[in-house]
Amino acid sequence: MDLAFTKEEQAFREEVRQFFRDNVPPETRRKMVEGRHLSKDEMVTWWRILNKKGWGVSHWPKEYGGTGWTAVQHYIFNEELQAHPAPQPLAFGVSMVGPVIYTFGNEEQKKKYLPRIANVDDWWCQGFSEPGSGSDLASLKTKAERRGDKWIINGQKTWTTLAQHADMIFCLCRTDNNAKKQMGISFIVFSMKSKGVTVRPIQTIDGGHEVNEVFFDDVEVPVENLIGEENKGWDYAKFLLGNERTGIARVGVSKERIRRIKELASKVESGGKPIIQDAAFREKLAACEIELKALELTQLRVVADEGKHGKGKPNPASSVLKIKGSEIQQTTTELLMEVIGPFAAPFDEHGDDGSNEAMDWTAQIAPSYFNNRKVSIYGGSNEIQRNIIAKAVLGL
C-alpha cells in the first residue's frame, strides 16, 4: 500500500493542467465558473480541441482512439478537467453509446459511428426513461416492430437530456412483448432527424431547458441499426450504466464550487464583516470539505481497484460514490445560497441560454441550487442506490 501519487503521476497532472490552461477558451471557462449554460457551439468547439489532442475518448481502447492511460491517470485527467473547469466530454456519446458499440457492435457499426462520436460530428442523446418507466426502467413500452428491412418505432421517451441538440439517439425499445420484461428489449440507434421524431422541451424548476420529451410516431429505422443481438438490450443497458461509476462522484466539480464559495464568502458581508469570518459558516463549510475529501479518497480506492482488477467486479465502495457525490454537490449549492442570502431572489426570466448576460451573475446561484436537486434523482435515484447496496453488497 502506497498512498501517495508517484512522480510520474504528478508530472502527468501538470501536463494536463497546462494543456487546459493553454487551450480551454477563456469564455467557456468563465461561464462554467459562473454556473452559466454553454451554447452547443461552445461545447463542440472545446470537445474538438480535446479530440485533436487525442484526449477526446481517453478511456476507449487504443484501437478506437483511446489513450491507454492507467486508472489513476484517468482520475487525474477528470479531476483537472472538472476543477479547471471545462466541459466534460459528452457522456451520451463518449461514455455511453461508444463503449456499447465497440463492445457489442459489428465492424461496420464501429467504423461508421466511433470516429464521429469522438469528434462530436454527431451529438448523441439517450432514449431510456419513459413517463411510466423511471426507476423501473425495464417496464418500458416504446415499441420497435420488424417490417421488412426496417424497424418501425412508436412510443415516447422522457428526460432526454439536450435532445434539442441531438443528431442521434440510442434507444431501448421493446421487441418482444411475450418475454419477461428484461428479456424483450433491444438497443437501437437512429437519427433524430428521422421522420416521425418530435422533440418537446421540458422546462425545469430552475427555468432552464436541458431535458425534453421525445415522441416517436412510426419512425422508420434500417434493420442494421440494431446494436448487438435482438432482445439483449437490457444487458447492454446495464453494461452502459455500470461504465460510469467513478465519474458520477463529480469530486472536481464540488472542489471548484468550494473554491467559489470561499471567494464569494470573503466578499459578501454578514454582521459587518465577510461571512467567511463567521465561525458557524466556516464550520459548515469545513464539514462539507471533509466529506468531499473522504469521497475523493473513496473514489481513488475505486479507481485503483478497477485499474488493478478490471471493471468486471465492482468495488463495493463504488456504490458510495453516487450517494455521497450527489449529496455533496447539493450541499455546495446550498452553501452558495447561504452566502448570497437575499440576493438569491432576482430571476432572469429570459432564461440562460448562454447569450444573455444582462443579469448579474449571482442570478445563476438560485437556479443552480434548484437544478442540482436532480443529481440525487438521476442515474438511479439515491434510494435505488441504497437498494443496490443492500442487495449487492450486504446481501439483504
Partner: protein, 380 residues
Amino acid sequence: MDFDLSEEQRLLKESIDGLLTDSYNFEQRKKYMKEKGGWSKTVWLKLAEQGLLGLPFAEADGGFGGGGVETMIVMEALGKALVLEPYLATVVIGGGFLRHAGTDAQKAAHVPSIIDGSKTLAFAQLEKNSRYDLFDVTTTAKKKGDGWIIDGEKFVVLNGENADTLVVTARTKGDRRDRSGIGVFLVPGTAKGVTRKGYPTQDGLHAADITFTGVEVGTEAVLGNPEDSLALIERVVDEARVALCAEAVGLMDESLKTTVEYIKTRKQFGVAIGSFQSLQHRASDMFVAAEQARSMSMFATMAGDFEDAKERTNAIAAAKVQIGKSLKFVGQQSIQLHGGIGMTMEAKIGHYFKRLTMIENTFGDTEYHQRRVADAGGLI
C-alpha cells in the same frame, strides 16, 4: 498510488487476524477483563512473540521498522476484535515518544522491554480543565539540581494504574495556556510521590487518575527539550489519533457485519426483518458511513508522513471528524437495528458501540476537530 497491501503487509494482517481469531472471541474477552489490570498478559506476550509490539520501532532499536500502514493494519484488527490490551498507550503513544525524542540511552532503557512485552506505558496528559488542548498544562516540573520535581494532577490516564512507566506532560515555564515551556518526562509508575487511583472505563478498558506530589526524577527522565516539546506532543498525539481512526474502522466493520447478520436472521411478522426496505436503507447508510471512514483513515495514515506539521495536523483533524460522524451513526444504528437485544450487556454489539463512543471523546471530538479544520481555512 496503490491501495493494495504489499506481500509483507498482507502477511502482517494474516498474522494478527489469525492470532485474534484464535484467542479473542467475545467469550474469551470476558475472561480477560477479569484478569489483573483488566487485560490478558498471555495475549500480550503472544503479540510480542509475533513481533507486533516492536512493529513501529527502528530495526537498530530491535524493532521491525514498520510505518503508518503497518500500524493501521494492526489497529484495525485490534478494533475488530475489541481488544483490551494497552497497545495504543504502550506501543503507539509511549513508543512514539521514544522513537521521536528518545536518546540512545532512553531507548535502550525502555524499548526492549516494550518489544518483549515485559513492560507497559501510559500517557499522563489530560488535566482537569485542559479538555482537548494539548498546550493547556498546569502540572509543573521544576528544576532541582540536575533533576526535576513534578507536581500536579492527571486524569483518565489509559493503562495508568499498572503502567511501568508514565509519560508525563508538565510545564517547566510560563502560564497555563502558553504554547512554549512544556516538557515531557518519563516517570516510573512506582516513583515516590505518585498516587494512582485506577478504575474501569465505559468501554471495558482501565484508566487512572494520577497525582504527582513532589516527584523527583533525574535528567534521564527528560524526553526532548524540556522547555519546548509541544511540537513533539502534537506529533505523537496525531499518531495516536491516526491509530484511533484505524481502530474505529475495525470496530465499525465488525458492528456493521454483526448487525447485517442479525437482521438477516431475526424474524418478525413471519419474515427476516432485513427484508424491510427501511432497515435495508439504514444498513446501506451505515455501509456508506463506514466506507467514508475507511477512506479518511487511509488519508490520516498517509498524512502521518506529511513533512509540514500544519498540513499533517489539519488532515488528521479532518479524518477524526469523519470518523466521529461515521462512528456515531454506525454505532447508534447498530443498536437500533438490533432492537432490545442491543441494549443488553450480554450482546456484543453494545460493547462495540461503547468503544466507538469513547474513541469519539479521545484526543478531540468531532466539534473540536471541525473547528480546527475551519480555522485552518479548510482543506481546499
